[in-house]
């Protein structure tokens, strides 16, 4: 691993994923839903980048496309020197060691017929048995499971322990990048803290890079260094964690942050909530201008016609909104 902290481990350029829509007749032109529509970002080695957004914003689809678990329609995904979207067959299988996935649901993402030790050892199929066992022992200890639990089946573990097992499996091939898709949202509150602390500790010890998918802004604020906010398949704001929470620029980011209930008795009833009306528009028929225009409290005429591009401000924040000034002042003040 490189010593330069600024090196990008993962670079995503103009990623697009589309799904065919049912057409009314076989002669009608094919229509597509662009679940991810031109997403670009990069993740610095050893850091954690979060993609946040509401359900249907395309954050999980982005993660799946990067991990080559669904097909991307266009774009580029670069993991150091590797172009992930170009790989196929054995090359792809070899490359998969370098990026691993932790899934949301610890109940359905583990094979119920395998013992815990075999689940963790599965990515290591080509190794000698005793080398494999040594790694399994080490990982069980690292994620806080007891050695005697290696013989158990997934149903004999609690939800939190299963997620630990999922983490151990992801760590097994010594990956550089781990994609965590809502890793704690299926867990009980008290167990969430245990798993989040474990993920941070493992990141520190092993110099891991995380791509973190979450809708829980509290978790994101705690876990991640950089944050990309997605809305309807596009990134509307990209910033480091301190800027994003201190000075959110895009009206959608503002609304999202203002909707999170605060645990502070002094703040009760004083929150300046920006209430969004209605639901997000149908992704199959996105608005022609800015995608947020119908729910935006400050939309102007040009927002209806010109889609805003993601631009970098002097402050380093990136935002896709016509109304954000160049010196990083949000239209909402």
């Amino acid at each position: 691993m490189s010593d330069q902290p600024a090196a990008n481990l993962l670079t995503v350029k103009d990623l697009k994923v589309r799904f065919p829509l049912k057409s009314s007749s076989i002669f009608a032109p094919k229509r597509y839903l662009y679940a991810v529509d031109g997403v670009s970002f990069s993740v610095t080695q050893g850091q954690a980048l979060a993609i946040v957004g509401e359900s249907g914003s395309g954050k999980t689809t982005t993660a799946l496309a990067i991990a080559r678990l669904i097909k991307a329609y266009a774009g580029q995904v670069q993991l150091q020197e590797l172009d992930l979207l170009d790989l196929a067959g054995d090359d792809l299988r070899q490359a998969r060691r370098r990026f691993q996935f932790i899934f949301q649901d610890p109940y359905s993402s583990l094979n119920p017929r395998l013992r815990a030790a075999d689940i963790v050892a599965e990515p290591l199929a080509a190794m000698a048995a005793d080398a494999k066992q040594a790694i399994v022992d080490e990982l069980f200890q690292a994620v806080g499971l007891r050695p005697e639990q290696q013989r158990l089946f997934p149903h004999q573990f609690s939800g939190g322990q299963r997620q630990r097992l999922g983490i151990a499996r992801a760590m097994a091939p010594k990956p550089q990048l781990i994609i965590c898709d809502e890793p704690v949202s299926a867990l009980d509150v008290a167990v969430q803290a245990q798993v989040l602390n474990l993920l941070r500790e493992l990141q520190r010890q092993r110099g891991l890079t995380y791509l973190f998918i979450s809708h829980d802004l509290g978790v994101v604020q705690h876990m991640c260094d950089q944050i990309a906010v997605m809305y309807l398949g596009q990134i509307v704001e990209f910033a480091d964690r301190i800027s994003l929470f201190k000075n959110p620029l895009h009206p959608y980011t503002r609304a999202l942050l203002s909707a999170v209930p605060r645990v502070d008795p002094a703040m009760r009833g004083k929150s300046q909530r920006i209430l969004l009306q209605g639901d997000p528009p149908d992704p199959a028929n996105p608005p022609s201008g800015c995608r947020f225009v119908a729910r935006c409290p400050v939309a102007e005429a040009r927002c209806h016609s010109q889609p805003p591009a993601l631009r970098r401000l002097a402050s380093g924040q990136q935002v896709a909104c016509h109304l954000v000034s160049d010196d990083a002042v949000s239209p909402l003040g």
């Binding site: 509401e54 359900s55 609690s158 939190g160 009980d188 509150v189 008290a190 167990v191 969430q192 803290a193 245990q194 989040l196 602390n197 941070r200 500790e201 809708h215 802004l217 509290g218 978790v219 604020q221 705690h222 876990m223 964690r241 301190i242 929470f245 201190k246 609304a255 999202l256 942050l257 203002s258 909707a259 999170v260 209930p261 605060r262 645990v263 502070d264 008795p265 703040m267 009760r268 909530r273 209430l275 969004l276 209605g278 639901d279």
Partner: protein
């Protein structure tokens, strides 16, 4: 609380028959709900929050569960003692409930308008036409756009937030005295959650309904509730006004629940300390009911007495009650 009490639960015990024998999933629970107030029930899953709600609704799963003792006083009646017919009159009329999963709690083969109208016909004796008309008004009141047309849509044609609005319309159709909301927003996005919270607040102001909010999210508690009750393993461990309990939690479990979740702040610091963990998990059902503090195995402040005696609830002023042997020492 100056307001009058409308629901009073006294020494409620609910037993569940499991493979390991009979366990008290609710163990000597007492609490009150005042008219028009919002009380939050807080705790991890498996602490008895939902079972408490089911007991109040007379919906304890039969035959594996039964109310083994105590009373639930609603007005002049004891809901534990009244018959099923009377309960059916009360449910949906005087006390109603909204559930966590708005998809599975609506009937997929009836239009949403029909499902709301059914409540009105059953409890208010309206005829078909009146009930449908009133259903449109209710859908409008919960903020469904174009209610007159949406009244004949089916649940699958609506988004999660809209379905939850329909559930709320149905639950509030008869202007109940108590609305039990069991994790009403956990399945929803934060922006939709904020809409639902605002809706509940407005409707509560208009109808004077008391809300019992079941949740594990301290943010939701702070947002909606005036009083809160923390439950652990079927028992009440702490109770008080939200301001008191959040600012000065005295039970180690409450302290853990508040500090184990990373809360959003507007001004994050560069340093991030590890989250405070509550180690371990909720005890198994067979350990419920033991004559000791059931949180002792996970508690950082445990002393010998915790494993030997069941803690009694002490009042620390203005209704802030805590069941912990160490509460006085800690404060």
């Amino acid at each position: 609380m100056a307001t009058q009490t409308i629901l009073e639960v006294r020494d409620l015990t609910v037993e569940l028959a499991t493979r390991d024998g009979i366990s008290p999933v609710i163990d000597g629970l007492s609490f009150e709900v005042g008219a028009g107030e919002t009380l939050a029930l807080v705790g991890e899953s498996g602490c008895g929050k939902s079972m408490t709600a089911l007991a109040v609704m007379g919906l304890v799963p039969h035959p594996i569960g039964r109310i083994a003792g105590g009373e639930i006083r609603f007005g002049s009646e004891d809901l534990v003692a009244v018959g099923e017919d009377r309960l059916r009159d009360i449910r949906g009329n005087d006390i109603s409930m909204i559930f966590q999963e708005p998809m599975t709690s609506l009937n997929p083969v009836y239009s949403v308008g029909e499902q709301i109208a059914e409540v009105l016909r059953r409890h208010q004796g309206l005829n078909h036409k009146q009930a449908r008309q009133h259903a449109v008004e209710l859908l409008h009141a919960v903020g469904i756009p174009d209610a007159a047309a949406r009244v004949s849509t089916y649940p699958h044609q609506m988004s999660g937030g809209q379905r939850q609005r329909v559930m709320i319309a149905m639950a509030l159709a008869c202007k109940p005295k108590i609305l039990i909301a069991d994790e009403p927003t956990t399945a929803l996005d934060v922006t939709v959650q904020a809409q639902i919270f605002d809706l509940l607040r407005v409707l509560q102001r208009e109808t004077g309904t008391a809300i019992v909010l079941i949740t594990h999210d301290m943010g939701a508690v702070c947002e909606l509730a005036e009083r809160m009750m923390v439950m652990y393993a079927g028992r009440k461990v702490e109770e008080g006004t939200v301001d008191d309990v959040i600012a000065n939690p005295r039970h180690p479990y409450t302290q853990g629940l508040i500090s184990c979740v990373p809360h959003v702040t507007d001004d994050p610091s560069a340093e991030r300390a590890p989250l405070v963990e509550i180690s371990g998990i909720v005890p198994a059902l067979r350990d419920f009911g033991a004559d000791q503090c059931l949180f002792a195995a996970r508690c950082r402040q445990v002393v010998a007495r915790c494993a030997a005696e069941r803690p009694v609830s002490n009042d620390f002023g203005s209704g802030h009650r805590v069941a912990c042997w160490q509460a006085e020492v800690a404060s």
